[in-house]
């Protein structure tokens, strides 16, 4: 068979992404039709920049999800096909089996794996880890930043000192110190996970308790159910038989996160939370002087009610913008970890690892490194544009 021309490659790639295009068109049509009823999200569709950013982000989100459902991927991202080593984009397979896709659309890498499928599989890793890690970092930052800003004083001094301590640490050095196998063996990352992942529980617990304290009949069952489920998830997440933290027996363990992913997750959350802490603290210090906070204090509301139900909702604008930026930053950090071969397994299809693999032969074969590089670039760019659009629209009120 003849290799594909550039035009054919582009057509076939566009066709391969068909489910993503359908979902994008559906999402955009629905959102634009109902944009007046959708609050800040709807206002996003008034700004061109925001729309472009949102489209880029959702493109990768859909790609990740459909890729995980085996819709877009043409080959197994880990399988090696003989004769396809470092082949250029559009090369046909030597003797394809029945039902196997006959071309390597974006060529083969130095281990004869399909670059296109690895790109799509890499999107799923980012889409899974980056938003979740950012959510955790926000939980930690908010739970510590609100009291630091609201109470001030000694608590603030101590917490700020700790946050500055982590911020003064060069990120890559921290990664090297946390992610090496020797440190993982001592269980330090698992202990850190135990501490960091408890913050969502504290956050939700305090959030619900401060709101429904006056209705014990509603509050008690609600807290028991919510915290029970979250506690179970928490224990399943951190507990892993064979490591230092094995708290619950295997039959109760809902899912097993491979220890490499867990370590990566912990270090990314750890690096991100001090910055969130500083932002939340600053916002809380600013907002606590407002009249509605004084009014709530006069009403006799508790400090946690004021922090979580008066200050936090009014700080949402800057926080949402920072959330988008921070997902992008987390994506960059994940790429950095992959680039230095830390944490994730060497054959993992995530973009950082793929770029690192591809760069060795960059002088001769461009495609194995350029494809994931451009993917990462477009995803982070999308998030930054989205944040910019959101900032503009939220300032307009």
């Amino acid at each position: 068979m003849e290799p594909l021309s550039w035009f054919e490659i582009i057509t076939r790639v566009l066709l391969q992404f068909m489910p993503v295009w359908v979902s994008l068109v559906a999402l955009f049509t629905l959102s634009i039709v109902y944009k007046r009823r959708l609050g800040l999200y709807g206002k996003l569709f008034d700004s061109t920049i925001g729309m472009i950013g949102f489209a880029l982000v959702m493109f990768w989100v859909f790609t990740g999800i459909y890729g995980a459902m085996d819709l877009i991927i043409t080959h197994d991202p880990l399988a090696q096909v003989s004769g396809m080593k470092n082949k250029l984009p559009g090369t046909p397979l030597g003797n394809p089996d029945d039902g196997q896709y006959a071309y390597y659309l974006f060529g083969g890498d130095n281990l004869a794996r399909d670059v296109f499928s690895r790109m799509v599989a890499g999107a799923w890793i980012v889409v899974q880890i980056a938003p979740l890690a950012t959510v955790f970092a926000f939980m930690v930052g908010i739970t510590l930043g609100l009291p630091a800003g609201y109470y001030g004083g000694r608590l603030d001094t101590v917490l700020s000192f700790l946050a500055n301590l982590i911020l003064a640490f060069p990120v890559i050095l921290l990664f090297y110190l946390l992610v090496t196998p020797e440190i993982v063996e001592t269980g330090i990352p698992s202990y850190m996970a135990t501490v960091l992942f408890i913050f969502p529980l504290i956050f939700v617990g305090v959030l619900l308790n401060s709101r429904y304290k006056t209705q014990p009949k509603l509050r008690t069952p609600m807290l028991i159910i919510v915290l029970g489920i979250m506690g179970w998830l928490y224990l399943s997440l951190i507990s892993e038989t064979g490591t230092k933290v094995a708290l619950i027996p295997n039959f109760l363990d809902l899912f097993n996160v491979s220890s490499g992913i867990l370590v990566v997750f912990v270090s990314v959350v750890f690096v991100n939370s001090p910055t969130v802490f500083r932002i939340v603290r600053g916002l809380a210090m600013d907002i606590k002087t407002r009249d509605y906070v004084a009014a709530a204090q006069t009403r006799g509301e508790g400090p946690w009610y004021i922090m979580l139900w008066e200050i936090l909702p009014n700080a949402r604008g800057p926080l949402i913008v920072d959330f988008c930026l921070r997902i992008g930053y987390t994506t960059i950090l994940l790429g950095t970890l992959g680039f230095f071969g830390l944490g994730l397994s060497p054959e993992s299809p995530d973009w950082g690892t793929t770029i690192n693999d591809g760069r060795r032969l960059l002088q001769i074969y461009l495609h194995p490194a350029i494809v994931p590089a451009l993917s990462l670039l477009s995803m982070v760019l999308g998030l930054n544009l989205l944040a910019d659009g959101l900032r503009e629209e939220s300032l307009r009120d």
Binding site: A168, P170, L173, L177, E182, T186, I355, A373, L374, V380
Partner: protein, 348 residues
């Protein structure tokens, strides 16, 4: 002002001590030491041999004591061998125990010995830091002026077409981490596939003689990432200054637009970017590690990667001390500079 600097210095020293202790603890955990013993001795050591090796080196003392010795505030550990000879950290080969100093730590200038490079840590860090300083100097020369020009141009007419275009450029560069822009730049300008071959894809030869051909790509790669951020800060502060009353007054007086920008607005608009530029240093450190690895330029960042991936404990400690020190000093300078540039900020 003096009291302010003193207090900042105090906090800085405290932070430095905490951070170095943290690094010291993490690098001196037992699995690391075991690996060290096995690489120094042989890989088939039994557990008893490992612990006796570590015992001799004084590695099995409490963490705080070891840290004190490393820092040079506690007398260093000495081990008496069965034959009566005494060995210890401070006692160099061929030196008798009586002549050797009691204290030898970072404070006395003893940084230890690198197991990977087989050399004194102090001299390794010195050379490598020199190479990185060369890189950073050119990064600053390229990054700061271009970022400021970009920011001022887009900030002086907020919302104009120039502003839109330049802001998009700035956002794109901040969205491009070094390992992405480096790969793209090498692919476009240095690979044989694209055929341009304007620059070299490695900077190894730039360590002795840097020229435009072998040094421009690494410098550009680091600059691009930081540039967008500084440019956006400059743009924001420029846009704010341009709406100020005194600018309007100058306009109404009939001062020409270039004059307003250069003489009236620029000075006030550059206060915020100054802090940002100083706070970029820790970031640049990250960029340096990535770019030096990517372009195989054997400077400070490259040394960090080598030390960390080869479990070279004393070198890694030295590298951490230097990088933490750089970060803290730039923070201090940025605080002091901010107060100095902006008289409205009170230090108390």
């Amino acid at each position: 002002m003096g009291l302010f600097i003193l207090r900042r210095l105090g906090i800085m020293i405290l932070t430095g001590l905490c951070l170095t202790f943290l690094v010291f603890t993490l690098t001196n955990l037992y699995p690391n030491l075991e690996k060290l013993a096995k690489t120094q001795g042989n890989f088939r050591m039994s557990d008893e041999e490992v612990s006796s090796f570590l015992e001799k080196g004084g590695y099995l003392q409490p963490m705080a004591v070891k840290y004190g010795e490393w820092l040079g505030v506690l007398p260093s550990y000495r081990h008496e061998n069965p034959d009566g000879s005494i060995q210890g950290r401070c006692i160099l080969p061929g030196q008798s125990a009586e002549d050797a100093p009691n204290f030898c730590g970072v404070l006395q200038g003893h940084w230890g010995f690198s197991t990977v490079f087989k050399d004194e840590v102090g001299s390794i860090i010195g050379t490598r830091l020199g190479l990185t300083a060369k890189l950073m100097f050119w990064v600053m020369v390229l990054m700061v002026p271009s970022a400021l020009i970009l920011g001022v141009l887009s900030g002086m007419n907020e919302g104009s077409k120039t502003d839109r275009t330049l802001s998009t450029v700035a956002i794109t560069t901040t969205a491009t981490p070094e390992y992405v822009s480096g790969v793209i730049l090498i692919a476009v300008f240095a690979s044989s596939t694209m055929g341009l071959k304007w620059f070299k894809g490695t900077a190894t030869s730039a360590m002795e003689s840097a020229n435009f051909e072998n040094f421009f790509l690494p410098v550009l790669t680091i600059s691009l990432y930081g540039m967008g951020y500084i440019a956006r800060m400059t743009r924001a502060s420029m846009a704010e200054v341009m709406t100020a009353q005194y600018i309007r007054t100058a306009r109404l007086k009939g001062v020409s637009f270039p004059n307003i920008v250069i003489k009236h607005a620029l000075r006030n608009a550059l206060i915020a970017p100054f802090t940002v530029i100083m706070l970029q240093f820790p970031w640049l450190l990250n960029g340096v590690v990535i770019v030096e690895t990517l372009f195989n330029y054997k400077g400070f960042g490259w040394t960090l990667v080598q030390a960390a991936s080869n479990n070279d404990i004393e070198l890694l400690l030295g590298v951490s001390v230097v990088s933490v020190f750089v970060v803290l000093v730039t923070q201090l300078i940025s605080d002091i500079g901010y107060v100095y540039l902006n008289p409205r900020i009170s230090v108390t």
